[in-house]
Each structure stands twice: as C-alpha cells, then as structure tokens.
Symmetry: C2
Amino acid sequence: MQTLYVELGERRYPIFIGSDLNPQSLLAPYIHGQQVMIVSNETVAPLYLEHYQQSIQALGKTVATCILPDGEKYKNSEHLNLIFDALLQAGFNRDCTVLALGGGVIGDMAGFASACFQRGVYFIQVPTTLLSQVDSSVGGKTGINHPLGKNMIGAFQQPQVVLADMSQLDTLPDRELSAGLSEVIKYALLGDSDFLVWLEQNMDGLVQRDAHLLAEAVYRSCAHKARIVANDEKEQGERALLNLGHTFGHAIESYLGYGEWLHGEAVAVGMIMAADLSHRMGWLSADDVQRTKNIILRANLPAVCPKIPLDQFLSYMSHDKKVLNGQLRLVLMKQLGKAVITKEFDVELMKQAILANQR
Amino acid sequence: MQTLYVELGERRYPIFIGSDLNPQSLLAPYIHGQQVMIVSNETVAPLYLEHYQQSIQALGKTVATCILPDGEKYKNSEHLNLIFDALLQAGFNRDCTVLALGGGVIGDMAGFASACFQRGVYFIQVPTTLLSQVDSSVGGKTGINHPLGKNMIGAFQQPQVVLADMSQLDTLPDRELSAGLSEVIKYALLGDSDFLVWLEQNMDGLVQRDAHLLAEAVYRSCAHKARIVANDEKEQGERALLNLGHTFGHAIESYLGYGEWLHGEAVAVGMIMAADLSHRMGWLSADDVQRTKNIILRANLPAVCPKIPLDQFLSYMSHDKKVLNGQLRLVLMKQLGKAVITKEFDVELMKQAILANQR
C-alpha cells in the first residue's frame, strides 16, 4: 500500500492506494461522530456495500445507507435531496460522517451533500472507478449538474481520507476503465512528459488491469493533481490546467446529453481538439498531435466525436465555468507535458480544430 | 452613518449602518465582475428594487433579477433552484456577484445560492428587515429548510459588504419590527446587561421607529454578534450562545409550520422558556424571569406559545442542529446578560419550563 498526502494545511488528508485494503483499520481514525451514512449506487452497492457496512459497524458506529440509481443523469438536485432525506430520516446530526462508495457521480453528490448538510459534516471517499480514483478523490470539487450546465452547483469539500482500492477495479466495465485512463493520460499531457513515456511503455498492461501498474498510475496521477491543488485549492490559477480537454469535452457531453458518452471519453476527444488547436497555433508538431491520438486510441478511447453543429458546440463551451468576464479561456499545450491557460487563441483555428475531430 | 467591520481575516467585511444610504458609492468597491444578480421578493421588489438596479447599472454593471415569493415557506430547494435557473439563463459566470435585497429568507437563499453557484461567487447583503439587519447580516450562515427541519441544508458564506439602511424599516409591518427586536433583546440577554438596561430605557422609542435609536440598536447588536462570530466562525463553541431561545423556538416554528409564527416571535417565547428553565435550575431569580418577559412584552412580542403536545415539542427539539452525539445542548442563562451552553440540565425541569409557557 502506498500513502499520498494532499497538503492543504488544516485540511491535509491521506489517500491510501493498494489492493485488498482493510477499511476497518484504515478508516477508524477518520470517522467523526457515531453516525456514518454510506452513499452508494445500485451498481456498486451489491458488490461492496456489505463489506464497508460491516467494517464500520465493527468500529461501533451506527451505519445508515442511501442507494441512488447509477448514472450521471441522476446527478441533479432531485437525487441530491434523497441524500438529505436519508440523513434526516435517520436522525443524523452535525457530528456525522458521509462516506461516498462509488464513482465520480456518487463522490460528487455525497461530497456536496456533506458540505451542505447542517452547513457541513465530515466526508470520506471510497472511489470505486479508476476515473474517480485519479480525478475526483483529489481536489475537493463536489456538486451536481443543472439542465443548463454540468457541475454548475456545488462546493469545495475536502475529504478526511480517500481509500483507492485496486481490487475494486476488477468489476469495472472495460469502457469505464478506459474513461479513467483518459484522465491519467491528461496528467501526462498537461505536466509530465516522463509520465507520458511511462504510459506509452505500459498502456497494454494498464488496459489488461495489471494491479501493480494501475496502482502506480493512480499514485502518479493523484500526486500530480495533489501538488496542483495544494498550490491552488480554489482554482484561481494553476488548477485550471487540470481542465485540459474539459471545455471541449463539456460541450460534447452537454450536446449528447449527460451520460451518453462517459466523461473520460468526451475529455479524450477534448484533449485531441486541444492538441490539434495547439498545433494550429504553432505550438505542437503534427507528430505531437499524432502521439496524443495514439496513446488515447491505445487506451481504447474515441478520438473523434459525433457531428455537432458548430454554433451549438460553441454555445455549450461558453457556458463552461472557465469563462471569465465573458471571455473563454482554454487549456492548450505549449509542448507535450506542458499545458498553459490562455485566452489568446484564434477563434477560427479553434473552430477548425473542433470540426477536424468530428466524425 | 456608522461602519462596523466583521473581523474574519481574509474575509473581513464592513457593515454600513445609517439612513438613506447611497448604494452606488457604498457598493462600488465590493461588486466583483460585470454581472450582478439581485435576488428579492414580491414584497420588497416593488419598493426598493428599481433604486438598487439603477444604482448598480450606473456603475456600468449588467444587472439581472430573480424575484421570489415572500415567506419562510418558500425557503426550500425548489425556490433555491429558481435562483440557479435565473443565474444560468442570464449567462452568469464564476466572476459575478449575487445581491440579496430583502429579509432573512432572501439573505439565506441568495447567500446559499452564491455559495453553491459554480462552487462559489461573490455575495452582498442589503437586509431590509430589522431582524435580518441584526441577525443574518453577520455570521455568514445561509441555507434552506427541509420538511424535516429548519436550516438543515446550507453553507457558511460571508458577504463582501452589508448595507443596513434604517430608512427601509419605514415600510416594515409592526409585527416584523417586533420580531427584529426579539433578536436585539437576545444579544442583551446572552451577553450584555448594560445593553439590556439601554433597551429597557429606549424600548418605546424603538417600537415607534426612532431611526437614531434603531441604528444604535442595530450597531450594538451587530457588534456583539460580530465579536462572537470573529472568535468562532464555524460555531465550534461560543457562537452557539447566539442560539439563546432558538432550540425552543425552532420546535415552536416547526410544529406550527414555518411562517405561521415569525422567527423572532418563536425565539421570544423560546428565550422566556430558557429564562424559566434557568430559574428552575436555580440560576436566575423570579425577578430576572419577569424582567425577561417584560422587555419582550414591551417589544409587542408574544410571551407564550400555543399548546403543543410535549412529545412533539421534544421531538422537534431533538432535530435541532445543536444536538451533538445525540445529546441535546441548550443555551441557558447563568444571569441576565450571561448565557452558557450546557448539556447539564434536568429534562423534567425543561419539560416544566416548556409547559409553563404555553397558552
């Protein structure tokens, strides 16, 4: 087992990364109060809920559960309210802990609920997908979607601890494993060309779910994100680099409807669009763009998105949170492994990059 | 005009207290971004919205508005969503300001919306009731009600600035003026016996809306709360003193249905119950209890609540946020002007204090 600390001063917390982790001993120091609400979904609960429930009950805690339907389309205020209902019906008070057992959607919703319930209770994350292990377990971003935009309503809420158990990835569908690898690739592209080389060497093993390689990929990804988040918790600056591929990706997800494409799939195409635009800006070579496409394809991810009318694509992009004073900022690459946030880009070239990577 | 600073380090902010304040000059330094959403209600908007809208437009800002129905019963997730809808329909981004123009309900909802919209935007408060001027304009507590409890969902969100304009109290109904005086009395009872004497000397003038006396009462109340909040922003300790009368009061409000009784009215009876229990515990004299009742009655507030079945009263009390590890904590008075938080009270005496102050 490896342990990585996210350095956030008073809100410093550990991420435990390994296989067959023991929740009882690892979580014990981090559960506050006597009441624990496990929030999970209908896919994950049958697989892992009982194990966590028993482990926490063995610590003498009261455990209640809230099982939501599985899917991004349920990440809305209606289903958020089900968590509040469960907390209040179980008589939970301010001194309780909410544990998210599931992927990014469950982490976002349980985390946001824990931030708002009684104006803030304690939060623990057990991410069960590769995507949530490398992405949402670091950074404290929680929230829900709104019909007019993704993640428009939320809070910064740091967990007490994160348990990333590679054994739980055994039950993950291939498509979701790939979606997680999309974010892993993102860390390499935005800030770590050595990691990109490592991924090019090990992508086949990762796709074949080698637990050792997966743990290493999760560790390196989380370490990367943890460093950025520690420097810029509230996304005033550097943290926005983590949105590489996301502004394009959000437009794809929004147009297709949340949940049709997985987040990581949309981000994969978004990263290619960002690489393509960076090339058109004269920053990346044609080879760099091809290398970006290759690693994405080797992770069994899509490299093009369906045809989306350009005006709608741009409209969705303009709803992105990275719009500042009405001005769109994009994360582009000066070179592979070195991303920058910029509002200095040619809109015509951006349109070309979008159109060039549609089916 | 008097200016009071709430000392919260980086989140330090001023409260401007006076009559006929000029929003354009006073708000100018505190509006962030180009977009301002004014959230108000159907009662306040016809009176003051145009004035604020024009003042802010004169600063070159884009102003959008969201007008909610008036009343505590609308302080729920459904109406909170109307604010998010308005923000997104108006195309607001992360760099915007939400201005609450109204009483406590509008402040709580607009504040909570500003805390959650895009994970946090800027917030300005223009409280238009005495209650919100002395209570919700200091402390950063925002939120909404849940069918199972008041203020169960929310966030700590500090404003950039508060404008407390006594001129706006001219249009306040008598009953709401009294409800505001209830919280003013609370500050005296919990921590300032000199202020209690001042109130006993000046209550008639306050009830007659003497602007000078009202400004003084608002200043002293806010100063008191600001000092406590600066010491204990997240209500780990001392801040809970501000809940004098509130645990009893919440039970009254919950049983009667939010909005039937005004918050300040319920708190008034709650403070009498707290004084009564403090007397039964041997801390206050019978005279002290009478003095508490007298100042409350002189503010035209109720001193007794309707008959409420004891088991239901207690059940609502146990849903209060001040329950810690399943144990109810109450704010009682060691003497007039000196409150304490305690879980050491006799439950039978508490029941007597509740029953003795019902109709």
